[in-house]
């Protein structure tokens, strides 16, 4: 044992073990218990530990669950698409059109060093019926009555999250743009590509890995987001995390909450894998 610890592999394993064990245990153990819970049932204050599929049946048949699950995935997909589309030109700008890259990258990340909860809260104040946006537009005489489509709907959720995730999209796309060999772009121009053609056939396909990375890092946590739908979503914008919280909180039905967590995780994983396969295939296709 002491001999092994002196070898390269031994030292590496010993030094990294605490961190990987910590994460490993805190992923595996709760997951195991969550699975166990999902087969139990809640009867008033007691938990009936005879295994049953009741929770899964409920999750599969309850229209509310299906509706919220589907909506969470659709909203997350919309957020991902909006964030990546809005972020791409910025990443392009920083990679190709400015010499002050560090300054721009810093400028873009600074707002995200503040509390997420407070930023979402701030959007609620901006978009509200008597909020900043409406009162500003009325003061300027651009509208007569407050706009009502701003807050408490899917639009508000998508806008807020597209803001919240901005740097997570900009940075990976920027890295993949930065990695492009500039001589490839020159070659495309020399061979007669127009600027648009060059972008679609050279630049864009080469940034597919960055786009995939950005999309996954946004999509996965967004499906399970709790704060944004609670604050700006209203009843139209509620998502599956709100339902899960209700089960662990007010409804006090932990087994159902556990089941919903697992179902959510499985759906996210499924959609993510599907997306990676599709995006990779598409990236090859354009080329």
């Amino acid at each position: 044992m002491a001999g092994f610890l002196r070898t390269e592999a031994g030292k590496g394993l010993a030094l990294s073990a605490p961190a990987s064990l910590y994460v490993g245990l805190l992923v595996a153990a709760p997951l195991g218990i969550l699975v166990a819970y999902s087969f139990w049932t809640q009867t008033y204050v007691e938990i009936d530990k005879t295994p049953s599929w009741a929770n899964y049946l409920e999750a599969a048949t309850d229209p509310l669950v299906r509706h919220l699950m589907l909506r969470s995935i659709l909203i997350a997909a919309a957020v991902t698409a909006a964030t990546v589309a809005l972020a791409y030109p910025i990443a392009y700008f920083i990679a190709f059109r400015t010499h002050r890259k560090t300054l721009w990258l810093l400028l873009i990340t600074i707002p995200f060093w503040s509390s997420y909860l407070l930023r979402v809260f701030s959007w609620k104040l901006i978009l509200g019926f008597n909020g900043v946006m409406n009162s500003a537009l009325i003061s300027l005489g651009m509208i007569d009555e407050p706009l009502t489509f701003l807050l408490y709907n899917e639009f508000a959720v998508v806008l807020t999250l597209a803001h919240a995730w901005a740097p997570f999209a900009i940075l990976p796309i920027y890295v993949s743009l930065q990695k492009i060999d500039r001589s490839l772009l020159e070659a495309a121009t020399d061979l007669g590509c127009s600027k648009l053609e060059r972008f679609v056939r050279v630049t864009l396909p080469l940034t597919v890995p960055g786009i995939i990375a950005a999309s996954l890092i946004i999509f996965i946590p967004t499906v399970g987001d709790y704060v944004t739908p609670s604050l700006v979503g209203g009843s139209q914008g509620k998502m599956v995390a709100n339902l899960i919280q209700v089960q662990f909180g007010p409804a006090n039905n932990w087994p159902l909450g556990a089941t919903l967590s697992l179902v959510a995780m499985a759906s996210v994983g499924f959609v993510a894998v599907l997306f990676v396969i599709l995006a990779t295939a598409l990236g090859r296709r354009i080329r």
Binding site: A9, L106, P111, Y226
Partner: protein, 283 residues
């Protein structure tokens, strides 16, 4: 080239002639877009401080007048001060624990080649991509099963989990440029393993450690969902803010508190950034 000049001459002239003309002709759409995007990014962040000085309880234009009373009232709220203390405790312990774990792990990843290195590296990054609500609910279930009541301890355990990826990646970049031969020299000159680590390795990666401490502290200080599930009746600052958001009368105080937190986070992380850069340069 369909210019009438001879070919070598054209080649020599084109870059000089073409470039400035093209630039002056093209409207900088991307620059305009980039600036508009920055406005979008900063709007919600600057709004809180702006209205925290507003002498009115409604957050809307036109603004009423300048006041500092919302800030002055904060000092008198006992539950707020208790939540602040809770957050400071959780943040400090989390920062120390995550940074120590990250320090050793990063050292292993950069310095040694071993079986399972990639697996382990992937594993410690996992907390970044699991939805917060799932981490929170599953940890609550685990801690209850282990007989741990929700408290600051359970929040710390959860926060170390989410802060670890940040610590590992910062420490990895600190070790990346670290010159191996310095350690070997120390060995050759008769230092022990621990002595080398303490007197050679540690001072060189110290800026990275400071950066990691500050970043992990801020991650914990700002984290809400885990704390919401795991704090029981010992709220951290974000959980306290969450409880205040519902009361319109408390709004100006919440704005003042939020502005102070924004300031604290940004200052801490700018300091962290300074140290991170220093750690990259020094090696």
């Amino acid at each position: 080239m369909n210019t009438p000049t001879s070919e070598p001459l054209a080649k020599a002239l084109t870059p000089a002639i073409r470039k400035p003309r093209r630039r002056s002709l093209r409207f900088p759409w991307l620059l305009v877009y980039a600036i508009a995007y920055l406005v979008f990014l900063y709007l919600p962040v600057l709004l809180l401080p702006l209205f925290s000085f507003n002498d009115g309880t409604i957050v809307a234009f036109p603004m009423k007048g300048f006041t500092l009373k919302w800030y002055a009232q904060l000092g008198a709220q006992d539950t707020l001060l208790q939540a602040m203390v809770n957050s400071l405790i959780v943040g400090s312990v989390t920062a120390l624990a995550a940074t120590s774990l990250g320090l050793f792990a990063a050292r292993a990843y950069v310095r040694y080649r071993f079986k399972g290195r990639e697996l382990s590296e992937g594993l410690v990054m996992l907390p970044l991509v699991i939805p917060g609500i799932i981490v929170a609910s599953s940890m609550l279930v685990l801690f209850i099963a282990l007989g741990l009541k929700p408290s600051l301890t359970t929040v710390i355990l959860g926060h170390v989990f989410v802060a670890l990826p940040f610590a590992v990646s910062i420490m990895k970049s600190a070790f990346d440029d670290f010159d191996q031969s310095l350690e070997e020299a120390a060995f050759d000159l008769g230092e022990s393993v621990i002595g080398t680590f303490r007197r050679v390795t540690l001072p060189i990666v110290a800026p990275g450690i400071v950066a990691s401490l500050l970043v992990t502290f801020t991650v914990s200080f700002d984290e809400f969902v885990l704390a919401f599930f795991l704090s029981g009746n010992q709220p951290t600052l974000p959980v306290y803010i969450w409880s205040q958001i519902r009361f319109p009368a408390k709004l100006p105080n919440t704005l003042a508190l939020g502005s102070l937190l924004l300031l604290a986070s940004v200052v801490l992380l700018l300091i962290a950034e300074y140290f991170r850069r220093r750690s990259n340069k020094s090696a």
